[in-house]
């Protein structure tokens, strides 16, 4: 019996049938979906990494740690960096296992992964999604703010003169603002005109960092009030600018009357 007949005979006897098309498709698309998921997750990791580097208290590092070098070593986001590398490798591995993934060199795949994650990551960063996600992780994932996002803990030390939270109330006449810290506790912040940004009202609902002294139970006297991140800073500046314009127009109208 020749090989062809032997094979047909075996197929017949053992009732061998081709694997159904849908199963092959599920497998094939499954690999693409996994590659996509790893790419999205790496974009997310890239966005958080950028955010953690950009908003890393560079403006007040001397208030936190005297030495710039030790501040850098202490605050670099190692976990997200490692996660990003691992996610890139997983993306590369799954992409390599797509039907024609082997045709592309390591360099091209890396370029697609890095380029793609930078593009999507930038979008996530600019829209503030990564910032919100980082905050959500620090609220809901046990140990996240102790191991990964230490910045939250760094600004939750009123006895060491550092506090942060979202401004819930601004009372300009009384020279106080109220904030809700990351532990959901409310603080009264005593401010003086010299410690405040130009327009206090613009701080409303923004996340801020405060350097000062704890002067009572849930009472803190501010020496410096700073936006939490670049995005908050931009928002405050944009709102201040827009209010200044409105005031200018109002003044012109009043003078005209």
């Amino acid at each position: 019996m020749d090989i062809a007949n032997k094979i047909l005979d075996t197929i017949e006897k053992e009732h061998i049938t081709p694997v159904p098309k849908w199963k092959c498709m599920v497998h094939s698309y499954g690999i693409w979906v996994m590659a996509g998921v790893f790419l999205i997750l790496s974009s997310f990791a890239a966005a958080i990494l950028v955010e953690m580097i950009v908003d890393n208290d560079w403006d007040v590092y001397s208030d936190i740690n005297g030495s710039f070098i030790s501040f850098v070593i202490e605050t670099l986001p190692y976990v997200w960096f490692i996660s990003l590398v691992v996610l890139y490798l997983l993306f590369r591995y799954t992409f390599r296992h797509t039907k024609q993934g082997y045709r592309y060199t390591w360099f091209i795949v890396a370029a697609v992964a890095v380029g793609g994650s930078i593009m999507v990551g930038s979008l996530l960063y600019v829209t503030g999604v990564s910032s919100e996600a980082n905050m959500a992780l620090s609220h809901h994932v046990p140990g996240y703010k102790d191991v990964v996002y230490k910045r939250v803990g760094r600004w939750q030390k009123p006895t060491k003169g550092r506090l942060s939270g979202v401004v819930s109330l601004v009372e300009e006449e009384k020279n106080i603002i109220k904030i809700i810290d990351t532990g959901r506790g409310e603080w009264v912040i005593i401010v003086t005109s010299s410690t405040l940004p130009q327009n206090t009202r613009m701080l409303s609902e923004k996340r801020v960092r405060i350097i000062g002294v704890q002067t009572g139970d849930k009472v803190f006297t501010a020496n410096k009030i700073l936006p939490w991140g670049v995005r908050d800073k931009r928002k405050i500046m944009a709102e201040t600018k827009s209010e200044r314009k409105i005031n200018e127009v109002r003044n012109i109208k009043q003078r005209a009357r």
Binding site: D2, I3, A4, N5, K6, I7, L8, T10, I11, E12, I16, T17, P18, V19, P20, K21, K23, C24, H27, S28, K99, Q100, Y102, R103, Y104, T105
Partner: protein
């Protein structure tokens, strides 16, 4: 008779499509490739014909099971060579020791090697013919593999890339290095002969 001739003329991809619902078409594919693949199995594993036939049978059964997974964008030849390569490697790992020489039976291979590798003129045709198998065994596995596909199976760079699942550029580099290694080993053998 006429119908049989027409069927024989069908492309590999068309035969794959028809084999899914009719095993007789699969038999045509088997007949079309059995000789080439049997030779290829023996070249990369140096097993006896019977053992090579066992491997070949497993290859075709695997091909049959995976018919729906065949990617039209790829030549069927590359796909079936890839499955053969993997199946042989797997069988090789399980039960076969490293061969002492690579089995080969084609005079064309000598001409191909002569044409593409700048071998010292002192290495004559007879010497090359007698030692080619030993040289291939002494070569690094990754180089030997591409050299067999290139000179003994006469595959193009793109086909080799599809068979070994590596980018075409990487295959070109491997072949370049393989030629250098082949030249070095054969010339050394000639000197010590």
């Amino acid at each position: 008779m006429g119908e049989n001739t027409q069927i024989e003329k069908l492309s590999d991809n068309e035969l794959v499509r028809r084999s899914i619902s009719d095993q007789q078409y699969f038999a045509i594919l088997v007949r079309r490739y059995e000789e080439r693949l049997l030779r290829y199995i023996r070249r990369i594993s140096n097993v006896q014909v019977e053992e090579a036939e066992d491997i070949l049978q497993e290859v075709f059964l695997k091909v049959y099971r995976k018919l729906n997974d065949f990617d039209d964008a790829l030549p069927f030849s590359s796909w079936v060579y890839r499955i053969t390569r993997n199946q042989t490697i797997s069988a090789f790992r399980k039960r076969i020791r490293r061969p002492q020489a690579v089995w080969w039976d084609s005079e064309d291979a000598i001409l191909n090697i002569r044409a593409e590798i700048d071998i010292d003129k002192d290495v004559d045709q007879t010497f090359l013919r007698e030692h080619i198998g030993e040289v291939l065994v002494e070569m690094d596995k990754k180089y030997k593999e591409v050299l067999i596909l290139r000179f003994l199976e006469e595959k193009s760079y793109n086909e080799i890339a599809d068979i070994v699942k590596k980018p075409a550029g990487t295959v070109a580099t491997l072949i370049h290095r393989a030629k250098k290694q082949f030249k070095k080993i054969i010339e050394k053998k000639q000197q010590t002969f």
